[in-house]
Symmetry: C2
Subunit: 287 residues, 2 copies
């Protein structure tokens, strides 16, 4: 059986045809332009390929509540051309196949749990730290969602005592994303992250915010692994700083063999899948 | 089919026999003394009643990972007589029936979702604010757990600007539980909560901490309803203060018809079940 998969990202769409064994057979990458430019290319890619279902991992916010009248519609995303765009309905109408949607980060969490760096455990939280901060979780055989999809990037964090950056989230000022997403590192220090590698304080402050987030995720959802991806996490010096701070903040409270100095390197890890995580997860949604 | 149910709480054990329709047929309440006093009474209650399975909602921390060698054992609980006590194994050995365990708060969340104030939606987060603070969630047809059970009471919160209480959590000082559990209201103000009802500042500060927790729970697990129980929540003036603060902190970021000034009273609610929530949830575990 042939299945379609889309990773709908903020900068690019990855389109693929795969089979019900989870294998990718054909792939194409197109830029994320306004819908009237991007969507005809998406439809053209899938037309005539005989797919029977389509899975989509999308940027958000997006309505992923199957019982909602606006299921599959983008919401008030900063990508203004896409606000309220009925992505799911449009794909279903044009391609005539059932469409299943989830968020890009939920799909990445599922993908890491199936084929990536969490394939040896049953649950996984995936956080991306880049232009924004988002996270998704795969727990008990399903992605985490309810009222809406999680927006884990916007949790409240405590300010680092040496940090006087005001915070840049348009909704919350100094929430996690407003303090720790890539653009805010750059605004705080006046330089791109890549030029700040040698400045210890930059990464100490960044690790403090990300460690607070991870600690709250551990207390609230208790994932068996945390995978950290996104542009900012390419600064590999962050991993040991974050791991150390997470253990300090937990202070031995959670009894688990995964949360010790000896084992934390295998608990907080980089992604195992790179370019294909999103689209493989989307394929899995269709399966 | 007859099933057994236990709500194992920090002050009392509720024991019940029910059927596979979720009806309670017989119930008994005994105090939580050390295991050598309490457990023989538990065994005696169930013996000869022909139960085929037993569900237990227990205080914690407790190992609820079915693949662990210590599944069903209490961990480092402040109730020192029970530390490392193999509750699940003991019940299984003595009664000769399969035992399924979960935390008291996970069971309460499930119970509220099945029969209580969240029975009209598919997911529910239950938080109890009393001697300690704990929360559980029921999402996608199962309770939330992974590495261990959640410990949502210990998340990091921001200090209220008028609050100089140092915080009383032995592990984390000024985490949520250390700032907002009942004993810390009393320590901060030097009087029992029941004598502080008229003092607005007490409840404003309390609501600030609890609202931060709810906002983080909403961002991280996105439950369709939040049920707030426990001794401190008997101070009904807290509900409107918490609801207002939650909306302020979210600042319109999560698009949901449940999170508006008009609808928030139906989103953050008191429990629908009172005394039987725990034991009915435990019965459901056995079903």
């Amino acid at each position: 059986m042939k299945l379609g998969a889309i990773e709908a990202g903020g900068t690019k769409f990855v389109l693929a045809v795969g089979n019900d064994q989870g294998e990718l057979l054909e792939k194409e990458v197109i830029p994320t332009d306004p819908p009237e430019v991007t969507m005809p290319k998406v439809i053209a890619f899938f037309e005539g390929k005989g797919i029977e279902r389509l899975g989509v991992g999308s940027f958000g916010p997006i309505d992923i509540n199957k019982e909602s009248a606006t299921y599959g519609s983008l919401q008030k995303t900063p990508k203004t051309d896409w606000v309220d765009y009925p992505l799911g309905k449009e794909l279903q109408d044009k391609l005539g196949v059932p469409v299943v949607l989830d968020t890009d980060v939920n799909v990445a969490a599922m993908s890491e749990a199936k084929w990536g760096n969490a394939s040896d455990v049953d649950s996984c939280l995936y956080i991306t730290v880049g232009t924004g901060i988002g996270a998704g979780a795969y727990m008990g055989g399903q992605t985490l969602k309810g009222l809406s999809h999680p927006e884990m990037g916007h949790i409240l964090v405590r300010r680092h005592e040496k940090d006087d950056y005001e915070g840049g989230c348009p909704y919350h000022g100094d929430c996690l994303e407003g303090m720790a997403a890539g653009p805010h590192i750059e605004k705080r220090w006046g330089k791109a992250a890549s030029e700040l590698q040698e400045l210890e304080e930059v990464w100490e402050i960044e690790a403090y915010y990300l460690a607070q987030a991870l600690v709250n995720y551990i207390y609230i959802v208790s994932p068996e692994r945390i995978v950290m991806g996104g542009g900012v996490m390419k600064q590999k010096q962050l991993f040991p700083l974050i791991r150390k701070k997470v253990l300090e903040l937990l202070n031995g409270y959670v009894s688990s063999p995964s949360l010790t100095e000896e084992t934390i390197d295998d608990y907080i890890v980089p992604p195992g899948l790179t370019d294909e995580a999103g689209v493989k997860g989307a394929l899995y949604l269709a399966m």
